[in-house]
């Protein structure tokens, strides 16, 4: 396959200028995840208000695929109700791992090239898995929405 099928303009742009990159000062939930195949680490912070994602950010160092994918995810979930944010993350994971054919709406089809590279699927879904775990933590512990960030 041609390289630009994998590295679409949108991806290169998100990689060069990642949106919502950094840490939130007072996240409701936070989850760090580690990609053991490449040693990359990502941390996703979410700020939740009224069952909606009020703010989100990701931090850490990753390849262009993981950076672009995290950047797109942060952009798309801000403002979404929590269950919709979950659907966004799950829908993309299902698309990339081949469990569904249609990409979720938005820019996600730009990452379709990743489907052909099993070794890159983990990169593309790292932020999504971190987000889902962060939201699960929050749901499991709703009395303490300001639980301290985890970094493991």
């Amino acid at each position: 396959m041609e390289l630009d099928e994998l590295y679409r303009e949108v991806i290169l742009d998100h990689n060069q200028n990642p949106r919502r990159h950094g840490r939130l000062t007072d996240p409701s939930a936070s989850q760090g995840l580690y990609n053991p195949t490449c040693g990359d680490r990502i941390t996703v912070d979410v700020q939740v208000r009224d069952e909606k994602v009020a703010d989100a950010a990701f931090d850490g160092h990753g390849c262009s695929i993981s950076t672009a994918s995290a950047s797109m995810l942060m952009d798309s979930i801000v403002g979404q109700p929590l269950d919709e944010a979950r659907r966004t993350a799950r829908g993309f994971i299902d698309f990339i791992t081949g469990r569904r054919e249609e990409p979720p709406p938005g820019e996600w089809d730009s990452l379709a090239g990743v489907r052909r590279f099993a070794s890159r699927v983990k990169c593309a879904t790292l932020a999504h898995n971190a987000l889902l775990q962060a939201l699960d933590e929050l749901q499991a512990d709703p009395a303490h929405p300001e639980s301290p960030p985890k970094d493991d």
Binding site: Y7, N15, C38, G39, D40, C63, S64, I65, R120
Partner: protein, 406 residues
């Protein structure tokens, strides 16, 4: 044998990858297999499939003969004293685990010290962590020099009367350095410690003489020298193997079994419980024969020349940072391209048929020491040629243009 003749022995090299000739620069992960190794494995399956050491029939005799002949070949390749000092394993990982658990686990006492470096492959670190936790022994780490090299003085600085084990890589799979094992072994023996050598990256690339090194144990894998995956060997001095407990218990390693207890065979059979990877062992023997025919001294020089050339050429490319010393490199170069993640570098190179490794190379503590998450690594073997390095340099220049624009 000229490199061209050598290359003809490796069928995979005739392959096209993404429309380009294959430029295989990942031999430190696993080496390509020469035809003679493939033929040797196939012959066992096609002509004399049988179990070893137990079948009294023609095929069984032939299989046992070939299996034990491979043991003899490993012995002579490493210049070990006797065949029974060679244990077949599933690779360097098992060999090091056997030493850590079978010897370390039965000899270490609380407060004893195990000396290693922060540049060990996980397979020479994690087993010792486990054994240390179980026995109360402590891990001590030799301070690396500024360029990642291990000096004898730095080793001396951590040795103590409590040191029982010194376990170290012979050649680094990231830095390309070679440790002065003979000198380190002398220091280890002076304080009464055993010298364990991770030979995974040295045995394929240089003449390794366990007698000259005075190594007590040395482990390596077949697949990194062109043999099959899932097989390797551990050298151990006879007296030490005699004091080593087996990891696996069951068929073939026993002497006499009663209902309540059993006695075990002498080494090496004691450590080869169950039906071994017979075809793999025979393939390992064939790989060693092939390397010996080319000549290990020649392979050593060839790989060093390529590593030196690669260092010089990569150092000329803007934005490339190379890890490890600028001289005396063996067979590989680990580096990063500024502003481009190693995975992306590897992906762009792959589109041009160039196979490199991107990752932490099973050396996470060394990655921390280098202050990087991961690196790209190009590694060389007897079938590589200067053209491969030129392809790599062009590929990297293209990578920089692709991600940064030109």
């Amino acid at each position: 044998m000229a490199t061209k003749t050598i290359r003809e022995q490796y069928p995979v090299l005739s392959r096209q990858v993404n429309g380009h000739r294959l430029v295989y620069l990942d031999s430190a992960a696993t080496a390509l297999k020469p035809q003679s190794v493939i033929d040797a494995e196939r012959a066992y399956y096609e002509h004399y499939t049988a179990n070893v050491h137990r079948s009294v029939h023609t095929l069984g005799e032939e299989a046992t003969g070939a299996y034990e002949a491979a043991r003899g070949r490993v012995r002579s390749f490493l210049n070990a004293g006797a065949d029974d000092e060679i244990v077949f394993t599933h690779g360097a990982t098992e060999g090091l685990n056997l030493v850590a658990h079978g010897y370390g686990g039965t000899h270490l006492q609380p407060g004893d010290e195990i000396v290693m470096t922060p540049a060990e492959h996980h397979s020479n670190l994690v087993p010792w962590q486990q054994v240390a936790a179980r026995t109360g022994a402590r891990l001590r780490f030799v301070e690396l020099g500024a360029d990642g090299t291990v000096s004898l003085d730095a080793v001396r600085a951590v040795l103590s009367p409590r040191t029982r084990v010194v376990s170290m890589f012979h050649s680094s799979n990231v830095l390309g350095t070679v440790n002065p094992i003979a000198d380190i072994a002398r220091e280890a023996h002076r304080v009464g410690a055993v010298m364990v050598v991770d030979g995974a990256q040295s045995v394929p690339h240089m003449p390794v003489d366990v007698a000259a090194l005075d190594a007590d144990f040395l482990a390596f894998s077949a697949h990194k020298l062109g043999g099959p995956t899932g097989v390797g060997a551990l050298y151990g001095k006879r007296a030490l193997l005699a004091e080593t407990a087996p990891l696996y218990f069951g068929g073939e390693m026993i002497e006499q079994v009663e209902r309540e207890h059993s006695t075990f065979k002498a080494p090496p059979e004691r450590f080869e419980g169950g039906t071994p990877h017979i075809a793999g062992v025979i393939g390992l023997g064939a790989a060693l024969t092939f390397l010996s025919e080319v000549g290990m001294e020649r392979i050593y020089q060839h790989d060093r020349e390529l590593a030196a050339l690669a260092y010089d050429r990569l150092a000329q490319v803007d934005g490339i940072e190379i890890y490890g010393p600028d001289h005396d490199r063996q067979s590989l170069v680990a580096f990063n391209v500024k502003g481009v993640h190693p995975h992306d570098v590897a992906q762009v190179l792959d589109a041009r048929g160039i196979a490199v490794r991107a990752g932490h190379h099973c050396c996470q503590p060394l990655m921390s020491w280098l202050d990087v998450g991961s690196t790209v690594r190009a590694s060389f073997y007897l079938y590589n040629e200067p053209d491969d390095i030129e392809a790599l340099v062009e590929g990297l220049q293209h990578t920089v243009r692709f991600f940064h624009g030109a």
